[in-house]
């Protein structure tokens, strides 16, 4: 079923806040074979927030995660994420089009710290695949 076109421009409620711990940053880095040596978290760490925001969006719209394939991801950083940060993400549906039975969903998420200051802006293209032929 195609995703509802009226979603374009809609901002979803902010995710619950995520406290960044050294332990979690270490686990995230280790999962990709990297070693966390203190300082800023790996550059792709903000996906933890963006993904939580995407999941909430998919649930709200009754879209199955297993039908989602990632098309594109971009991060623009104001500063590195560091342990001690308390972050939330707010997702907006930026664009929506249908190609060959798939929905191509463009989203942007702003990741802000406990003071509401922007840490990272990220955009994602999600491909919502139709049923297998």
């Amino acid at each position: 079923m195609p995703v509802d076109q009226s979603l374009v421009g809609k901002a979803f409620p902010p995710t619950s806040s995520h406290a960044v711990t050294e332990e979690h940053v270490r686990a995230f880095a280790a999962a990709t074979g990297a070693e966390y040596a203190g300082g800023g978290a790996p550059a792709t760490y903000p996906i933890v927030l963006a993904f939580a925001a995407m999941n909430a969006f998919l649930e709200a719209e009754s879209i199955d995660l297993f039908r989602i394939v990632h098309g594109e991801q971009r991060f623009s950083y104001e500063r590195p994420v560091v342990p001690g940060d308390v972050l939330t993400a707010t997702l907006t549906v930026a664009s929506l089009r249908q190609i060959a039975g798939n929905d191509i969903i463009g989203t942007t998420s702003e990741i802000t710290d406990a003071d509401g200051v922007l840490v990272c802006a990220t955009s994602a293209t999600l491909v919502h695949r139709g049923p297998a032929q």
Binding site: F28, A31, A52, F66, H70, G71, E72, Q73, F75
Partner: protein
């Protein structure tokens, strides 16, 4: 300046660890049947896993630098076999802006079995030069 190509191996266990750390429990990254059910050739790595490897290479090439931006398209899936793993190569070309901003653009080429898996991956870093 051409940067030394980095080679990393991805296993199914890595994907399970990454799913837990990132929160992305999409079963197409862990369950062969679900992956094939949506028309994929098998269990595939999270796109963000491959992107994390690109970021890891950048961090290894530019220790102590700060990433200003990072982006790519996910153009081809990285299929991860149940046994052993799959190798991903990250190559890079660095171009310093030469301006006072101290920015360096890193154009990446990320391949698996000789095929590009990310579309136009690029990072911009600020800070200590190589």
């Amino acid at each position: 300046m051409t940067l030394p190509t980095q080679t990393y191996t991805i296993t199914r266990d890595d994907l399970v660890r990454y799913a837990a750390a990132s929160g992305d429990q999409n079963p197409i990254h862990q369950d062969e049947q679900v992956a094939r059910g949506v028309g994929l050739p098998g269990v595939i790595a999270h796109g963000m896993y491959t992107m994390a490897l690109a970021a890891r290479a950048v961090a290894e090439w530019f220790p102590g630098s700060e990433v200003v931006s990072l982006g790519c398209k996910f153009t081809s899936p990285v299929v991860v076999p149940a046994d052993g793993g799959v190798e991903v190569e990250v190559a890079g070309e660095a171009v310093a802006s030469g301006d006072a901003d101290g920015l360096t653009t890193v154009k990446l080429v990320v391949t698996c079995a000789g095929q590009k898996v990310l579309g136009m991956p690029k990072a911009v870093v600020r800070g200590p030069h190589r």
